[in-house]
């Protein structure tokens, strides 16, 4: 039994009514092919993997200049073979959402607002805070044993990052700075 997208959506649990289903691009096959042709003509697809759950579905991203024009399930991907759930389908909006923060922000102690700052300012602050706290709280030796740690800075996160990022984060915060409180979403 070949599942149609509609049947699939039914079991995939989209609570929405038909209207939303059509908006999501789960339109009749013909119409969809046509609109797709129109929208993505001459654009090069870039393969990516869905950023949400760990099924790891393939997605093709069609972009032009500063715009993600269109995204669709990767038909060559062995797991999803072109289909996507509601989250994978709407991945374009991770880019287009007006809620995206596009500049570093700073909140001074006691302030009730963010201020926009530049990267130099922001990264300098981060580095200085880390160094100041680390150096003041660092335990180099304890009962004669070299322990090289600080228990005063914590790191959280990683389940949505790339492997290469996880490697560097772990290296910097544990092997370099000596943090003990290193945790991420697998624990919660």
């Amino acid at each position: 039994m070949e599942m149609t997208r509609r049947q699939f959506l039914k079991i995939s649990g989209a609570v929405a009514a038909t209207l939303a289903v059509i908006e999501l691009g789960f339109d009749e096959k013909g119409a969809q092919a046509k609109s797709k042709e129109f929208k993505i003509a001459e654009l090069k697809p870039t393969p990516t993997i869905c950023p949400y759950c760990a099924v790891g579905c393939g997605i093709l991203v069609y972009s032009k200049g500063d715009d993600v024009v269109y995204t669709e399930g990767d038909p060559d991907h062995p797991i999803n073979e072109g289909s996507l759930c509601s989250k994978g389908t709407t991945v374009r909006q991770v880019y287009t959402s007006e809620k995206r923060i596009t500049k570093p922000l700073y909140r001074a102690p006691g302030a009730d607002k963010w201020e926009e700052v530049d990267w130099d300012f922001a990264l300098d602050k981060v580095a200085k805070n880390i160094k100041e706290t680390r150096d003041r709280t660092f335990i180099h030796k304890e009962n004669g044993l070299t322990v090289n740690r600080t228990d005063s800075i914590a790191y959280l996160g990683g389940a949505a990052l790339d492997n290469e990022e996880c490697h560097l984060l772990q290296k910097l915060f544990r092997a370099g700075l000596g943090l003990t409180f290193i945790e991420h979403q697998a624990r919660i």
Binding site: M3, F8, I11, S12, I49, Y52, C53, A54, V55, G56, S63, V68, D76, P78, I79, C85, S86, K87, Q93, S97, K99, R100, I101, T102, P104, Y106, R107, P109, G110, A111, D112, W114, W119, L123, V126, N129, I130, K131, T133, F138, L145, V147, N148, D151, I153, A154, G157, A159, A160, L161, D162, N163, Q170, F173, R174, F181, I182, H184, Q185, A186
Partner: protein
């Protein structure tokens, strides 16, 4: 997952317990449906009738927190009716091992308990050895002290009537599930167990998963195509971030972090402590030293124990896990918090108290795509008084997954590459770039220091290029590992050395980046047999797709079933061959006595029916921290090895005040704390409101109608939400009483396009005795109509 997504289609029976893939891993259902089309059977076990249950042949209703009785009863049924896979159990598991006489079990307690420490002396449950140190065995499985007999005795208490009096499952349904699933014990059949956080997020979470594994070993379902114990992971790279050691007690590749214990004073002493005497882990020193070389490069020498002293040593016996981290923050011991895509103000247990703790920080750094409830905890809309909060907050805008390049590892351990499709939005930057710039800045700040405390920072290598944008290929080459002299990439972890001549950032990924080629980028989707797609991406370890696949073949090396060939012994060629990369020494033939030891990571090579973890060697039922009834199996109410944290973080509710059992879950349209999905128009519109599902019976008792605004309260706090009156929850008929059960999504908070009450304001701050994962999935509450 021991297996992978496409492989689900090979199952004869699938039991999904504590997971709801139809809604939370929707595309996985393609492969589940393929199994059903071929006549496969689907069992869904869940407190709520989910969309997975709707597709199932049998649905078993299960009160949150009673997996061990449920599975224990199945184990008992299988043993009593001799439905297990006899050859497999006798040869491939530790069923034949003899246990020391010091082992005992009485009224819910194993021997060796220390009440003050709430912990066991596990040596009391050791395997009995002969003079040469070999484990004594009884292949007939008759010795009363062998694992098989002890297990039989242990689970004989899980008779059907006691079980269903605890789980609330209807008797006929329960028997049907036992029978259907036990059918996979027949030689040649395959059954798979799929679970998610419904299994793990309990004070007995690890033992829940152990109970699934024991069931699978008894039925001969591990190592075979269409079988396995399969964790459905909820985040695109939660597998990878775990593999890469972003946990307090793990460095990359599932190895330990040194502590201040006396054994760890020297590198050799530490290695002796963490290296088992048998099994593949005997190679751990090679992996560890190679990892230290990836951290400290040429600054790691034989003379300085490869930089072992540079590594932080955890305070021995101290737990630094997520909840203890917040305890420390609550006690004002933490000054700084770095968040890389993390939103504990919505996702953490007892979130109200955790948010309160945030204001004890001196500074916070949040790296994210969107403003989260955590990064803005100081705002008025969070209910805070900004003027009184002295925390300095720096928000660094990150770019999303297709605005950068890199790999993620899915649930089936496939490491898949994501190419950059567009340049980062606005001024946002990839996390890789952020950590790179930060590391370079810090290294620069420490470069002239002669303080011994700063040596780790100075010794740490950071050779990923001189520009702000790191060369990701150099990062990948380091993760894979290379020969320190020739700089040639290492081909496989078997080539790693403990003499400092090789480096490898993560030994389990070794082999993904041979000379000049990143195998995570492979896109050949040809199925060369059994849907293992060996040329698509790279699966760790060594591109093996089904773990323990030696067990897919019988004692002579022939596949148990012609339809399910994983690997087989080819006598002519003198090697293992088949549709997968052997998870076994390729040339190990029948002449070798260890030819029948498929579980290569385990001492003795046998699957662990009996395995010593913190609360005992066999799963035993204890009630959740908050529970509606007395434990039916013993007088011990709570898991005796559970550790308590900061008392004020951990209020406990009583059934007299909070009579309703509650659980949390996820939806298709939102993801985790909702920071990403509630910030986009379409998904926000699809599910715009926080709701709580309550049964028709409870609704009528409380005078609540569908869509009414209600208040849900627990000992930790209360939230408002819309009532969704549903048939998906039914009252539970337990031994002594009937209890109500409700459920709610945990995706909501006050930021984003759509907002709503955070379910985690209700959840308890207590967790599993081994992993310390919080008990989100079973707690007590009450509901009332909002005024």
């Amino acid at each position: 997952m021991t297996n992978h997504w496409n492989d689900l289609k090979h199952a004869d029976v699938l039991m999904i317990i504590g997971a709801n893939p139809a809604e939370n891993h929707p595309i996985s259902f393609r492969w589940i449906l393929k199994a059903l089309e071929k006549g496969g059977k689907l069992i869904s076990v869940d407190p709520r009738f989910t969309r997975t249950s709707q597709m199932a042949n049998v649905y078993g209703q299960l009160r949150s927190g009673t997996d061990i009785p449920f599975i224990g009863g199945m184990i008992n049924y299988i043993l009593e009716n001799e439905l297990y896979h006899k050859e497999y159990v006798a040869a491939y598991t530790n069923a034949a091992y003899i246990i020391e006489d010091t082992y005992s079990f009485e009224d819910g307690m194993f021997s060796g308990y220390d009440k003050d420490k709430r912990s066991y002396d596990k040596t009391k449950w050791a395997f009995k050895k002969d003079e040469e140190g070999k484990t004594l065995q009884d292949p007939t499985l008759k010795d009363p002290n062998c694992v098989f007999q002890l297990m039989k005795k242990h689970f004989s208490r899980y008779d059907i009537d006691t079980v269903i009096g605890v789980t609330g499952t209807a008797k006929e349904t329960y028997l049907d599930i036992c029978k259907t699933y036990a059918s996979t014990g027949e030689v040649g059949k395959a059954g798979t167990i799929l679970y998610a956080m419904g299994g793990t997020q309990h004070t007995v979470g690890t033992q829940n998963i152990r109970s699934y594994a024991i069931l699978q070993l008894l039925l001969g379902n591990i190592g075979i195509q269409g079988g396995g114990v399969n964790a459905l992971r909820g985040e695109s790279n939660v597998q990878g971030s775990t593999d890469f050691g972003l946990l307090y007690d793990n460095v990359p590749g599932y190895m330990q972090v040194p502590t201040t214990a006396e054994t760890d004073f020297t590198y050799q002493g530490f290695l002796d402590r963490i290296t088992p005497k048998e099994g593949y882990w005997v190679n751990k020193p090679k992996f560890y030293t190679s990892m230290l070389k990836s951290f400290y490069g040429d600054n790691a020498t034989k003379g300085n124990d490869f930089g072992y002293d540079y590594l932080p040593k955890l305070s021995a016996g101290r737990n630094y896990s997520f909840m203890r981290l917040f305890d420390a923050m609550y006690r004002k011991e933490l000054e700084g918090l770095l968040l890389f895509g993390s939103n504990p103000a919505v996702g953490g247990p007892n979130a109200g108290k955790e948010i309160e703790s945030l204001s004890n920080l001196k500074w916070m750094v949040a790296v994210d795509l969107f403003e989260t409830e955590t990064s803005s905890f100081w705002q008025k809309e969070a209910g805070a008084d900004p003027a009184s909060i002295q925390t300095e907050v720096i928000f660094l805008p990150a770019s999303s997954s297709f605005e950068k390049e890199g790999s993620v590892t899915n649930s089936g351990r496939w490491m898949q590459y994501r190419w950059q499709a567009i340049k980062p939005k606005g001024e946002s930057k990839a996390d890789l770039e952020i950590v790179h710039m930060l590391a370079r800045k810090l290294k620069d700040m420490y470069k002239n220091s002669s303080n011994p405390a700063d040596m780790p920072m100075k010794a740490m290598t950071w050779d990923y290029g001189e520009s702000d944008h790191p060369d990701i290929d150099l990062v990948c080459r380091e993760i894979n590992g290379y020969d320190m002299k020739t700089k040639q990439q290492v081909k496989i972890f078997g080539d790693l050395k403990d003499d400092g001549s090789t480096c490898s950032g993560n030994w389990i990924y070794c082999g993904f980046y041979p000379e000049n080629e990143n195998l995570a980028k492979r896109r050949d989707s040809t199925d060369e047999g059994m849907s293992n797609f060996l040329n698509w991406s790279f699966a760790w370890p060594a591109n093996r797709r089904i773990l323990y696949n030696r067990a897919s073949a019988d004692l002579n090396g022939k596949a148990w079933s012609k339809d399910r060939v994983g690997i087989e012994w080819n006598a002519l060629e003198g090697k293992w061959k088949g549709h997968d990369v052997p998870d076994f020494v390729v040339t190990k033939g029948p002449d070798d006595p260890t030819f029948i030891d498929p579980f290569i990571m385990m001492a003795g090579g046998k699957g662990a029916i009996f395995a010593s973890i913190n609360e005992g060697p066999l799963p035993e039922h204890y009630e959740p921290y908050e529970n509606p009834m007395k434990n039916s199996f013993s007088s011990v109410q709570l898991n005796p090895a559970v550790q308590f944290g900061e008392e004020e973080m951990n209020a406990q509710g009583d059934v007299s005040k909070y009579p309703i059992v509650a659980t949390t879950y996820r939806l298709s349209e939102h993801w985790q704390s909702g920071a990403m999905t509630r910030s986009q128009e379409w998904l926000a519109e699809l599910v715009p409101h926080m709701f709580v599902e309550i049964s028709e019976e409870l609704a009528s008792e409380k005078g609540i109608k569908n869509k009414d605004k209600i208040v849900v309260s627990s000992a930790r706090g209360e939230i408002e939400a819309y009532a969704m009156v549903t048939k998906r929850f039914k009252p539970y008929k337990l031994k002594e009483k009937t209890v109500h059960h409700i459920g709610m999504p945990w995706h909501f908070g006050y930021k984003g396009i759509v907002t709503g009450g955070s379910a985690n304001r209700l959840t308890p701050h207590i967790g599993d005795a081994n992993s310390t994962i919080p008990e989100y999935k079973a707690f007590l509450c009450d509901v009332r109509r909002a005024k």
